[in-house]
């Protein structure tokens, strides 16, 4: 369960990389909140690699382990009516298979 590197998938993203969260709605137990799907952010840190909880939820091994990232988003990107400072952020931990490179990033 811990973040060991044995039987883990290769890490695709590095700190600072711009990413986009995939938009998908499979059934089952998902750790990617609905409100964050399709949003653009940047890798804040790499948390390690963990058995995939979507598979564990069906009592399967969830291997190979999926890298998990903490992704930082701008609040103003998430909520059109956000009234706080433009510098406010929210961080969400997201598994690698939910992330793709943000091709539109500058």
């Amino acid at each position: 369960m811990s973040g060991g590197q044995a039987d883990a998938l290769p890490v695709h993203f590095g700190v600072g990389d711009k990413v986009r969260v995939r938009v998908a709605h499979p059934p089952g137990h998902l750790r990617t909140p609905w409100y964050i799907r399709g949003q653009r952010g940047a890798v804040e840190r790499i948390c390690g690699a963990f058995a995939n909880p979507e598979e564990l939820a069906y009592n399967r091994p969830g291997l190979p382990r999926q890298p998990l990232y903490r992704i930082r988003f701008r609040q103003t990107d998430l909520w059109p009516d956000y009234a706080g400072p433009k510098t406010d952020t929210v961080e969400v931990e997201i598994y690698q298979h939910w992330l793709e490179p943000d091709e539109a990033a500058p």
């Binding site: 709605h25 909140p33 609905w34 939820a57 069906y58």
Partner: protein, 101 residues
């Protein structure tokens, strides 16, 4: 489609935290999950608990208390794992309901 439980970002009122004493049955449900999930048994994972809570119909999810959701999820997982059959569970529930209050 958004799962009913996946409420982050939806309009909501102020969160009012409250404390309550756990009823004996709530403590038993908590203990049951710990015992089922112990490594020597391995009959239930936390992720299964969550999946079966998240699979509850929205109206049932809203009606149930925290540990009632746990109990429903534990029962669903035991059926999925083949620990007992639906018929065995139904007969046991009827037996318990028939007990003197």
């Amino acid at each position: 489609m958004r799962g009913h439980h996946d409420m982050g970002g939806l309009p909501a009122g102020k969160v009012e935290p409250t404390e309550h004493q756990y009823a004996p049955w709530e403590k038993r449900v908590d203990a049951m999950l710990v015992l089922l999930g112990a490594p020597e048994r391995g009959l239930m994972r936390t992720d299964e608990l969550r999946r079966n809570i998240e699979a509850l119909a929205p109206d049932v999810y809203e009606r149930m208390s925290y540990y009632e959701r746990w109990m429903a999820s534990i029962a669903a997982t035991m059926l999925q794992r083949g620990v007992f059959t639906a018929d065995e569970l139904g007969r046991k529930l009827a037996e318990v309901e028939a007990r003197e209050p």
